[in-house]
Symmetry: C2
Subunit: 506 residues, 2 copies
């Protein structure tokens, strides 16, 4: 009797508790997807791996990989079964990338810096270097050196013992290493190396100066595009949207239209062999360091390019370091005409740790009817902004690894994206400037989204929904989306089959 009554008290509580949790769980991204039998097999296997990983680190001092800095755990992550499965998975589109950072740095160094007629010059007497391709010899009086010469010279310097020169193991390495350390944001001790977010941004901005001058001809741009499309496709990415897209030659001439035609050509060639590759689109950008006149010119130019390349150019954004540059509000005159937004906007906003500082860009993003927000890291600190985001259906482009390496969050389990996932907010996962930190086009970010931002219980449905989101929330037309979903679904089914075979799940 007593036992029965104790039991019934507990049971009433447990029922209430279960209903509460069920309701809350049903609000999570992907929670309402139904998996078929074959997907369930993969899901079960995946979740056993996940649970083992969580429990192992919950109860020991073994660090949980998704809780540590990417630089310190990248190689460990790559050894895991979960990562291997995520790498195989078709992840849909990658909607937030910058076309200046789409190829691996070691590839760029090994390929682009070995091209003929490439000159380099130290900027302000120190690294990073400017590059210029030229048919004529650039003046050494102005500090320009031919890269091939410099490399041969450093080769002699570093191999002057004769012995190692004979072995040829020292050849060419020294300059490559310098270029690599100039370009990469990697450091083995991120927290002590970068003491403020401006430290990181300083290195970040140096990268762009260096790399953009290296990728400054249509030839090098084509090499990068071809390599990038191959890498994206191999990493399970069928579609990409690039920020920037305005292309200047080192000599100052605007090659944007040639660049757009080049993109079309590269995509079409790739599609011959890979008809399920869906293409590339652009959100052209202005920068926060522009004068108002610069911005007006850019806005006009983008409007013109949207008309010329309607299938390629899909909107406008303002990027570069939010904390230090002008805020969107500074350019209102250029962004609004006749009371309306002059272009479709997809704004970077809230990529800051300040509250009521640069994050006020979020307010302008929602009031200017941006359809997507890049990063939105600070959005949760703005209740009215969050309300508008939900009401207007604005999508937040969450970039897990980028947020971490740029110093916003240490343990990705506490990235604001974890709250957005819990609330079924409209998000996509993308990878920003992934080559700068040695990530693959999307796999590492999907791993972090699944193991870090997602809950311990979020399963294949989260991954699947994120892939679907990346198509649904893209700038593709409805017709394009329908075709995209069908091509993605084919790869998805093949992926499920592949995992079942590889891990003997049947």
């Amino acid at each position: 009797m007593l036992l029965g009554s104790v039991h019934s008290f507990s049971q009433a509580y447990l029922d209430k508790r279960e209903a509460f949790i069920r309701e809350e769980t049903s609000m999570r991204i992907g929670a309402n997807l139904k998996l078929n039998y074959r997907e369930e097999l993969v899901n079960h296997y995946l979740m056993v791996q996940k649970e083992l990983t969580v429990e192992a680190s919950r109860l020991t001092k073994e660090p949980y990989l998704a809780s540590r800095h990417f630089y310190q755990v990248k190689e460990e992550i790559e050894k895991t079964t979960i990562f291997k499965i995520i790498r195989m998975m078709p992840k849909g589109g990658n909607l937030h990338l910058h076309d200046a950072t789409i190829v691996p740095l070691d590839w760029a160094i090994k390929t682009l810096t070995y091209l003929p007629d490439l000159y380099t010059k130290a900027r302000e007497g120190r690294v990073p270097r400017l590059f210029r391709f030229s048919d004529t010899i650039l003046s050494s009086d102005d500090g320009w050196r031919e890269v091939a010469d410099l490399r041969a010279e450093m080769d002699i310097l570093s191999c002057n013992d004769g012995y190692s020169r004979k072995q040829r193991t020292c050849n060419n390495k020294r300059l490559d290493e310098i270029f690599m350390s100039e370009l990469s944001l990697f450091t083995p001790d991120p927290y002590n190396t970068y003491k403020s977010s401006n430290d990181i941004w300083s290195k970040f901005n140096d990268f762009f100066t260096t790399f953009l001058s290296l990728r400054s001809t249509l030839e090098t741009a084509e090499m990068c595009l071809v390599k990038a499309v191959e890498d994206f496709y191999a990493d399970g990415v069928q579609y990409v949207e690039f920020r920037e897209g305005i292309f200047y030659h080192t000599n100052g001439s605007d090659l944007t239209e040639e660049y757009m035609r080049l993109v079309d050509k590269v995509v079409q060639l790739f599609q011959v062999a890979h008809p399920d590759f869906l293409g590339i689109k652009f959100i052209l950008t202005g920068h926060r360091y522009f004068t108002e006149d610069n911005m007006q010119q850019r806005v006009d130019r983008v409007a013109e390019l949207m008309k010329k390349f309607p299938h390629l150019v899909k909107g406008f954004d303002i990027d570069s370091h939010e904390d230090v540059g002008h805020r969107n509000q500074f350019y209102l005159k250029e962004l609004i005409k006749d009371g309306k937004s002059v272009l479709p906007f997809l704004f970077h906003a809230g990529e800051t740790s300040w509250t009521q500082g640069a994050d006020m860009n979020l307010v302008d993003a929602v009031l200017l009817n941006a359809t997507r927000i890049g990063h939105g890291f600070a959005a949760l600190k703005h209740p009215k902004v969050m309300e508008a985001i939900r009401k207007q259906g604005i999508v937040i482009e969450v970039q897990p690894v980028s947020s971490q390496v740029l110093g916003f969050v240490s343990d990705l389990r506490n990235h604001p994206g974890s709250t957005l996932i819990a609330n079924n907010d409209r998000i996509t996962i993308s990878s920003d400037n992934f080559p700068l930190w040695g990530a693959l086009p999307l796999s590492h970010d999907f791993y972090m989204a699944f193991m870090g931002l997602g809950s311990t219980k979020d399963d294949l449905r989260l991954l699947k929904q994120l892939a679907i989101n990346s198509i649904q929330f893209s700038t593709m037309t409805d017709t394009e989306k329908t075709e995209a979903m069908s091509k993605w679904q084919q790869r998805w089914d093949a992926f499920i089959d592949e995992v079942i075979t590889m891990y003997h799940l049947l």
Copy 2:
């Protein structure tokens, strides 16, 4: 004409923008407080300092102090005018503390380890040490050494060159240093020293073993209480609530009732000289490592103590490491009788980086009608929990520095408390185990709340509201609160006068 029309477009947008921001800002904690003229003077001065600090680090690589790890910026913070003003400010009550960590570690070492009849023993052949006060000589066969002997011996060892011995500068330091490094969580390189949160908790648990055996008599407890009350009061804290409160002698006897009477005595004596000190109350705790039987015994004992000391014992909590110990759900049978919570609950919950793991304690906290939640770090990841917290008026005890040193957040501007402040959620600021990381009783946490969790524009009203919250959300009775508010208001007015005088603001 054209200019006029451009102007009116912008103006319409700017009006809408301003209204949006005004509405959002009015939702922030403290936003609706009205400051009087003298408060405005102080506020203006404070905000000039804040703005200068923000702008200086926004535009340079100078790290923003509230964005860095406490261990690396504590001394810099203490030099700032803002910290000095916050230190002078009457901060009301500190509602989340543990009575095992209320005195500075260096004071504890200099005072408690120099008492006679204190013996020490290495645990498992290594630090940290157990302590025991004893009237009889404890057996060296069991590994017990008298601390005075050990100190003299180490003194000789470290001063055996005769010269330094004569100078007496080496005396006693070596052992004190060992004790200090055993007890403190401090490390100059926190991110690399502690790779997982379990690393930190391991050291944390060692502290309790060591320190609790050192503070194991009513005499040492009294010394600690007297010192703590002095320090609290000097730091602008007029009222405290301690977790734990169950007092065992090293010999195992339960001295809780004597301890409660001791607390009354210490408070009353202190109030003779400081009638505006409001007192101490307790939320007694059980631990997550208890068996269900242990927990039942503790619950019964707490109910008994609440009856005996109704002015002192105000509720029940379950503490210790959430990730590893049992969850609250494990003890449902002990926590619920006849369908109702057996005691007023103020639960630790959501002090974890996992989602849908230990953070599920948050669900039980709201379903068991906890009136306050300790930490609640993970609450934002639970939309239904947040809804219940808001509906039930549950208070979240935010502990800025604790969350950082225990590894949940690196940059305090991204602590979830920043979102709670933006939403006018019911929070208080407290300092948890502040002596373990060398903080003052409340000043450092208020600094971090103001400069880190608060926005760049949050002003004196945030600080004032947080102080008011700490009284309104305490376990005091309504009568006690009225008296408390009046005594706090007197100190507040005096504080405003003092700042005006000190910084010549009139």
